[in-house]
């Protein structure tokens, strides 16, 4: 049975929807049901943004994930990962970038946010930008994060690999290879 409820989070402009696009393509190609609620409009201007992404092999009712039912919080920013903690199920996972995005004057001390994430038993902190740089391009850091989350997506890794191949195909084989490398690097470094 496949049923994974994911909250993608970050700061407006970080591109959380690019991750959703890959998971969405993977779901659609494999005839899974999917609902994905997005944020458009005012909050995209550097505010906190999230997307509720639900995939399942049976029909999905709500576009929103109920409290304590989220299987995975996938975040491009560590404080933003914590914002959705009330939605995380008891056995759910947090996979988040460890790099803070400081566009507010009262952002907490770095260490405090990371310690708070570490307190959660199922959490993965990953320096996606550093890994993306090693792979060759910081523009694929979102895919590195997705790689780190592969074990918790509830769908085979090959679905995601195929989705990356078809999404980036029009940008050329080189871009496909780079993103596959980023995915693998994320998976290895989690």
């Amino acid at each position: 049975m496949i049923k994974t409820d994911i909250i993608l989070s970050g700061v407006g402009g970080q591109g959380i929807l690019s991750i959703a696009t890959v998971i969405g393509e993977a779901a659609l190609k494999n005839n899974l049901y999917m609902k994905q609620s997005e944020v458009h409009g005012m909050s995209q201007r550097g505010g906190d943004v999230q997307s509720n992404l639900r995939i399942s092999d049976t029909p999905i009712s709500s576009d929103l994930i109920p409290l304590k039912k989220c299987d995975l919080i996938l975040s491009l920013e560590p404080m933003e990962a914590l914002r959705y903690l009330p939605y995380l199920s008891d056995n759910g996972w947090i996979v988040t970038s460890s790099t803070p995005f400081k566009n507010i004057p009262n952002y907490p001390e770095d260490g405090d946010v990371l310690n708070e994430v570490k307190k959660i038993k199922n959490s993965v902190l990953i320096d996606v930008e550093a890994i993306a740089r090693e792979v060759g391009n910081t523009r694929c850091s979102n895919i590195v994060l997705l790689g780190a989350a592969l074990p918790y997506l509830g769908i085979p890794a090959s679905y995601i690999e195929d989705a990356i191949k078809s999404i980036f195909a029009r940008k050329g084989q080189e871009v496909v290879e780079l993103n596959l490398k980023a995915l693998a690097a994320g998976a290895k470094n989690k």
Binding site: V11, G12, G24, E25, L28, Y33, M34, K35, Q36, S37, E38, V39, H40, G41, M42, S43, Q44, R45, G46, G47, D48, I60, S61, S62, D63, L64, I65, P66, L67, K68, M79, E80, L82, R83, L85, P86, N103, I104, N106, Y107, P108, D112, V113, E116
Partner: protein, 527 residues
Amino acid sequence: MQKLLLLADEAIALGAIDGGLSGVYAYPGTPSTEITEFIQLNSDAKARGIHSRWSANEKTAMESAIGMSFAGKRAMVCMKHVGLNVAADPFMNSAITGVNGGVLVLSADDPSMHSSQNEQDSRNYAKFALIPILEPSNQQEAYDMAYYGFEMSEKLGRPILLRITTRLAHSRSGVVRKEMKPQNTTSFPSDPKKFVLLPAIARRNYAELLSSQASFVESSENSPFNTYYDGDNKKRGIIACGVTYNYLMENKELINGSPILKIGQYPLPKKQIEKIMNECESILVIEEGYPIVEEMLKGFLGKNLTINGKLDGTLPRQGELNPDSVKAALSGKKAEPVVIPEIVRMRPPALCQGCGHRDMYEALNAVIKQYPDAKVFGDIGCYTLGALPPYGAINSCLDMGASITMAKGAADAGVFPAVAVIGDSTFTHSGITGLLDAVNENTNITVVISDNLTTAMTGGQDSAGTGKLEDICAGIGVKKEHIRVLVPLKKNYDEMISVIKEEIDYKGVSVIIPRRECLQTLKRKKK
């Protein structure tokens, strides 16, 4: 058939295209913008020559759609909920004229005010205008309703309100496409006076509208979008409207055998409402927005039946519903409080780094400091964020265009300096007529049109006044020497400050236009 992964907004666009649309008319507004954008980029729409350019505002959009309908073709108007206030005059009267080609009026409500200044429920407008409503619960229904909506409008002879809310508008799911229908050919109303609302004709038309109400109810009773699910447990019946049906089904285990009436078309289907009210001891009404159905049922049939919903606190009156608030309503247990860890700080949206509005506010604030009695009237757009720190620059934000007219009223009341800050797109939407009022009285106001050459807030749509602002202002009578164009950059601060000061000190109408392209549209162009 292959499923397409579409936002409900996109599903509506595609449903309309496939349903024989000839023109979409709209002004951008979250959460409705993506409908028109989809049609603008769609290859079938291009091949069919479907009109999709942005209109100056929702009123011009609505009137153009009625014009297209007059000529026999199918038209759709799209707007956010408050846009329907702007279009209210033609909207209300289009119910009296009726349609020739089918008309869909799409209004996207924003409960929880994700990107709006109120939570008004557009269903009230359709009730007010006495026309039917379609309200989808999911992306496929959104497609289907747009697809069948034109025929329904033509059959019932009136425009149809298609109501969605933010959650559905901006949620994606699989949608199966239907066969494309042909567009209508040009044809004129069989009754040549139908669209001439002189009192004598309007009285006749209104009588027809009133007598059509029964056919609207009958259409609802037979609608595939209104479904009755029988249940053995008659203690409580449940009526779920539009997207709330999903929240109900998310809590299947709590339904407990209750009969359910799923509503997707209004006016309410009388037969089904009678059935559920007759067989159940109480009714739970779940609807997004205002308690409209709930209020109607409280008086329906004059029966003494317990109706639970937003009026008695079973569901929250404010904000959008969700699976948890519906769970609480079903179980009778209070919703769990959402406790966010203490360390998490608010992260409000802000103007982009390097945005021209920032430079405009820096300079304006520097001048305003010298006038302790100054008031600055704001408007709707990215620059409304100038109300927040670090600027705290504006004292008002009411509706599209109100910066100029509020400044005028305040100046009439003796406020000096009275400054308006408005964007280029908002100015052409609703600012021009207010400026004309000020010019005609030579009111002592200073209007800043912060021109970023786009409709930025909604994602960078074409702005109706691009390249024309100075001519528009001069054309309605602002003196040429008091139309001042600036480039909002740090290096120009001294010039900006002296120009703003000069124009504030000028006793009369002056317009300052700081002009620099939106960084977001610039970035997209470079890609």
